[in-house]
Symmetry: C2
Subunit: 231 residues, 2 copies
């Protein structure tokens, strides 16, 4: 049996996947460089909505598969974060407001009329992963949070600089999320490092993070093509 990696080595292996994160995707590069048209921004926001809307469902699947009450308790606030505590609150609501600021109507977002098949398939694959894989792998798939705080901070600065018609208010999803995602990222790393104790579990966690990078990347591939009117 292969020996488990040390915690440091394990975390380094996970961190090595950062160049597979969607921060380096050509579409995100163009977004940050101010090169997207208003139409492309709308396509992006309307399609990413589908991802945002499925996050509480994905997190509930993790809780449903986890026999450890301490992990369930730790994971529960993520559902609250996205769904909010009442109508009109939460990450879900902030994303809808961003969509509206970009010129979309709430109804066309909620009916998912702009969501292209490639985005739907990628997001559904992520939810299915959370429903069907061991809870530790599903948690590990969320380790992209390790990489997202930095990207979101940059996004707010770049979008305000390059798209002057977008207000800071419209970007509340990101500004509010930056701190939360750093906390959640540390928590996720801690849970994964604590529970992935065999080499097989460590390898499965790395594979799960790799899978998640593929999910996000595929979303942007589909969004990029849709923005060009290719779908």
């Amino acid at each position: 049996m292969t020996e488990p990696m040390s915690r440091d080595q394990f975390l380094a292996e996970l961190g090595n996947l950062s160049d597979r994160y969607w921060g380096t995707h050509p579409f995100h590069r163009r977004l940050h460089a101010g090169e997207l048209t208003e139409g492309e921004l709308r396509t992006w926001a309307a399609n990413r909505w589908y991802y945002q809307s499925m996050l509480p469902v994905k997190d509930a699947a993790i809780i449903s598969n986890c026999p450890l009450p301490e992990v369930r308790r730790a994971w529960l606030p993520r559902i609250v974060y996205h769904d909010g505590t009442e109508e009109g609150t939460g990450g879900r609501e902030y994303w809808l407001r961003l969509c509206e600021a970009l010129g979309l109507h709430r109804t066309e977002i909620l009916t998912e009329s702009h969501v292209v098949p490639g985005v739907r398939f990628a997001v559904d694959a992520y939810v299915t992963f959370a429903r069907t894989r061991p809870w530790l792998e599903a948690v590990a798939s969320g380790l992209t949070e390790m990489f997202s705080g930095h990207l979101m901070r940059q996004r707010v600065a770049d979008m305000l600089a390059h798209y002057p018609w977008i207000s800071a208010d419209a970007l509340a999803y990101f500004t509010v999320r930056i701190d939360a995602v750093s906390d959640e990222g540390r928590q996720t790393v801690d849970i994964v490092a604590r529970h992935a104790v065999t080499r097989a579990q460590q390898d499965a966690a790395i594979a799960a993070l790799s899978f998640k990078c593929d999910v996000l990347w595929s979303m942007l591939d589909a969004i990029e093509l849709a923005g060009k009117g290719r779908t």
Copy 2:
């Protein structure tokens, strides 16, 4: 297509299932009459633990299957109720304390060493139902809450009267749960009545409640036989 029932008729049909609820099961009758041995009480508590321990998992499955944020938000406190907000709190903890008061060690509960196959199969069927059936049916299966407030109130009185070695403290699970279950029961009825709008949905809700009565009844059948040393 068959017309949907009126709300009153629908609720009456659901209420008619009350005699299938486990309140009338012979084992519960003996429990309430003070006829159980200490050994039978321990068998009961240790086996019902498996049901208690799976409730948060079942509730998370419902949330994971539900596309409506308002229902997910309404359902979330049930997970918190059972898992508690930190170690040593929540319905789960109260049940463990009841087990200890009945002379069981926490470890033998947590390792599920007393859980008999019939109880495991019934509880697992309930969790599978929540994972695989439409969320509205899974919610409807929880309508046994309509019947449980009264039974729990009676249980506390009867247990204190008939088993003088059991303290009121030991029964905290029930005393704390009585109010919560009445509130939850009203909420569940409200959700089911609001969302089961076709006759097919109403019939499916009634079937779900019937199924849940079978789950609970089967648990007590298995517990009864185990208490007699038959397993």
